[in-house]
């Protein structure tokens, strides 16, 4: 097994045009999310302010003007009924969606790596116990379960709850991969070599095995971020997302659903953002995997 240095990986990554583009999109999104206050300041809007004059109550609150009320004041139009600025909500929504996805990924990666590492390295009953737990969690109808769990826990900050629930149901996916890798690595001769030198188990785990997991873990992390973004949106869609008036993309799409025929722009705009983000992360995930895989030759 050969390992590529960080520089090589980055170079290989950027050499793929799609990956470079995806990286740019992701970076742009992060920037947008971080700079949300600035952007809304420039655009002169706020994610929560109602603009009753931008909608027509007589028509059930349909935005005035074409394409969901796109105008110089509201660059991406306004929400029907309350006239909130869609751009402001989309950029603040990016903040929420990305934050939840990244934190949930962090949680599942930490849990998954720790438990997968221990299971794969030690084997035996530890492995059996952790492995069974993972099987169990994987056979949970997790979507039903997540909805039931979230709707059952009132009063808790939904964002926190989403992170915890997503991370909790997500770690077995990381754990499985890490476990497999750790199992292979634990049998590797360099681990035997460290043992012969008298290394303690802790040292074997942390110094010898763990550094070799960064590649696969990086790949699953990149791959799971879009999954979490989509799941968070899905949960919001099913009514257990972040609480109003906090915007998230899923929650925006969910409120736009009844309007999909009357005001398609309202539905398409957050949907497009969601799609592009998930796509960019997926492309990036693929690219990271390819770049880390020494076997893969550039086509």
């Amino acid at each position: 097994m050969t390992v590529l240095s960080q520089v090589t990986v980055l170079r290989r990554l950027l050499a793929q045009r799609s990956a470079a583009l995806a990286l740019a999109v992701v970076a742009g999104l992060v920037l947008v999310a971080v700079a949300a206050p600035l952007i809304t300041w420039i655009a002169g809007s706020s994610p929560t302010a109602f603009h009753g004059d931008a909608v027509d109550p007589a028509l059930g609150g349909l935005p005035r003007g074409a394409a969901g009320g796109i105008s110089t004041r509201h660059w991406l139009g306004v929400e029907p009924v309350n006239g909130r600025d869609v751009l402001a909500r989309v950029v603040y929504g990016a903040q929420v969606s990305l934050l939840i996805a990244v934190l949930a990924t962090a949680l599942s990666v930490v849990l998954g790596t720790a438990l997968g590492l221990v299971a794969g390295f030690f084997g035996g009953w530890v492995d059996t116990a952790i492995g069974r737990t993972m099987d169990l969690l994987l056979s949970f109808p997790s979507l039903i379960f997540m909805i039931a769990l979230i709707s059952a826990a009132p009063g808790v900050d939904r964002r926190l709850l989403l992170v915890v629930v997503l991370g909790f149901f997500g770690w077995p996916y990381v754990g499985r991969i890490v476990r497999g890798q750790a199992m292979v690595l634990a049998r590797g001769e360099f681990v035997a070599a460290a043992r012969v030198l008298g290394a303690s188990r802790r040292a074997l785990l942390l110094r010898e095995v763990l550094p070799n997991l960064t590649g696969p873990v990086l790949v699953v992390a990149t791959m799971s971020i879009p999954g979490y973004i989509a799941t968070e949106a899905g949960l919001s869609f099913l009514g257990v997302g972040v609480q109003a008036p906090t915007p998230s993309w899923g929650q925006m799409i969910a409120t736009a659903v009844p309007w999909y025929a009357a005001d398609p722009a309202y539905f398409l705009i957050p949907g497009a953002f969601l799609f592009v983000t998930v796509l960019a992360f997926n492309v990036l995930g693929d690219a990271v995997r390819d770049a880390l895989d020494p076997r893969s030759k550039r086509r």
């Binding site: 309350n82 257990v240 969910a254 009357a262």
Partner: protein
């Protein structure tokens, strides 16, 4: 648009026959007469079973009139309205052809006492003499002595207090006859025995209810129901947007369809902009009033000035827009809607109902709350609930009141806010009386003595001895007209204390298919179509 005025759709009149489709976003919660206590189910069940009295089949306020149904009249009070006697019509039959007797009516009322069938109205339990200790026919087969059946067509109710509008109460499904040998307990819900023009052919909860003609029903005994279609198919649990879209398209079988529920805000624009569609929109009046409840037990909401500030600040127009704009109803200025025959000045006026944040701020300053305050609003986690909560949040925000939204899953909403220890500062609520009139409204919602730890309906926890005394005084009145006037004054009295801020008197804009005739909104079914009058043109 007045109630039912724009309702008569031009074109050929209804003929007998055909299959009427009803598209519903809801599920029919309970069809069992003992458990049937939501207006949508009552609207549907009127096709299936008859009650002692019922509402007139007419648009507008005329629909609020109580008329005889199974009984020959609307009940004969005696003993100072403590005893009520009903006589059944001759020739009324169940679906199997057997005659309906007074025993069947008595048994039907007794069933509402059973703990297994808990959801129904409380009137029998609270009003009938000896009702406190009676456990229903399953545990107590001897029956309730205060319901007498001297002969097979006479039923006499002995009450523990005078009840002037018992005749109106007798229109509730709980006064429908149930033959004891057909009672299947909790399973009766899925197949109540028919006494009306239709019987249940099949019922899959949350999917579909199919009604077919009941040949034992004799139209001669029924002045209310037309019974025109041969078959009524009610699709349940549909998506609201899909129902709207299907009726807008109105194609195929959907030409013979009506919606059970009002159109959603998202469809309003489309319908109003199209004269063709607009002609198929029936806007019915409703007796429902929506209001924001303010918890008077919480600080600083115990200060009437703070509550009045909220009343001034609330943007009723924005709230109405979340429900579809002007078509969804009129901005409420008082507790009692015009559809119940009331008119009143708004004690907290603002231009176009958009609220008056300046007045609100002034009142807050007066109350020593110039720096603002933070309140928590309990809202159901439904689309409409969230939209309304956000509108409340935005409009009170203008007066410096920060509102935090506590989303509660729809199923838990009423049990949570009805629990005085779990309820927060503000609740978006509303009330429809059980029959037109204020007697099943103000006394239930504002009587401080009825506040209970659980299952509370007085979300403002408003407890005013003066109001309680008024309630008792009005209840004892024998003259309905005087009582009505007195309730009007009581409402104004309550408004001064601002325990709730009424914001909308509902109207129900409902789409009907191009081939459906006889559609009008019925006031007692909160503006939904009166299903018994519908028919197909061809």
């Amino acid at each position: 648009t007045g109630g039912g005025a724009g309702a008569t759709v031009t074109g050929a009149a209804a003929v007998k026959g055909g299959t009427l489709h009803v598209l519903s976003t809801l599920d029919l919660e309970h069809l069992d007469p003992a458990r049937n206590y939501v207006t949508s189910s009552q609207d549907v069940s009127r096709l299936v079973y008859r009650t002692l009295t019922t509402f007139a089949a007419a648009p507008g306020q005329a629909g609020g009139k109580i008329v005889p149904d199974l009984a020959t009249d609307t009940g004969r009070p005696s003993d100072g309205a403590k005893t009520w006697t009903f006589t059944l019509k001759q020739g009324v039959k169940f679906e199997d052809g057997r005659p309906i007797t007074s025993k069947d009516v008595k048994y039907g009322v007794e069933r509402t006492f059973a703990a297994e069938l808990p959801e129904g109205p409380p009137y029998a339990r609270t009003w009938l003499a000896g009702g406190e200790s009676y456990k229903g026919p399953y545990k107590d087969p001897a029956g309730l002595a205060s319901i007498e059946t001297p002969d097979s067509s006479t039923v006499v109710f002995h009450l523990n207090r005078p009840v002037a509008d018992f005749g109106s109460a007798a229109s509730l499904p709980m006064f429908a006859p149930v033959p004891q040998d057909k009672d299947t307990g909790v399973n009766y819900d899925s197949r109540p025995f028919s006494s009306g023009p239709y019987k249940i052919d099949s019922f899959e909860p949350k999917k579909q209810l199919t009604l077919v003609r009941n040949t034992s029903w004799d139209p001669a005994t029924d002045t209310v129901r037309k019974g025109l279609p041969d078959k009524v198919v009610i699709d349940l649990g549909l998506d609201a947007a899909v129902v709207d879209q299907r009726l807008i398209a109105g194609q195929g079988e959907d030409a013979n369809a009506v919606a059970l529920e009002p159109i959603g805000p998202a469809s309003v624009g489309r319908v109003l902009n199209d004269p063709q569609l607009k002609s198929r929109l029936v806007t019915g009046d409703s007796i429902n009033t929506r209001y924001l409840s303010i918890n008077t037990k919480h600080k600083p909401l115990d200060d009437v000035r703070v509550r009045q500030a909220i009343a001034y600040a609330l943007d009723k127009d924005a709230l109405r827009t979340t429900r579809g704009g002007p078509i969804a109803g009129d901005l409420a200025t008082s507790l009692l809607p015009p559809s119940l025959g009331y008119q009143a000045e708004d004690p907290y006026p603002s231009k176009d109902g958009k609220g008056d944040p300046d007045r609100a701020k002034a009142l807050l300053a007066e109350a020593g709350r110039a720096s603002g305050l933070t309140l928590t609003l309990d809202a159901p986690a439904s689309t409409a609930g969230k939209a309304q909560a956000e509108a409340v949040q935005a409009s009170l925000g203008r007066a410096g009141i920060t509102v935090k939204i506590n989303e509660i899953s729809t199923s838990a909403f009423y049990s949570t806010v009805g629990n005085t220890s779990q309820e927060h500062d503000l609740v978006i609520a509303g009330w429809s009386p059980d029959w037109p009139g204020a007697s099943t409204y103000l006394p239930i919602v504002f009587d401080g003595r009825l506040i209970t730890g659980q299952g509370n309906n007085n979300y403002s926890q408003y407890d005013s001895p003066a109001v309680d005394a008024q309630i008792d005084r009005i209840a004892a009145m024998g003259d309905p007209a005087a009582a009505q006037a007195a309730y009007g004054q009581l409402a104004q009295q309550i408004m001064q204390d601002a325990p709730v801020v009424p914001f909308l008197w509902d109207k129900a804009p409902i789409l009907v298919g191009p081939n459906v005739a006889g559609a009008y909104g019925h006031i007692a079914y909160v503006g939904r179509l009166d299903l018994v009058s519908l028919g197909l043109r061809k």
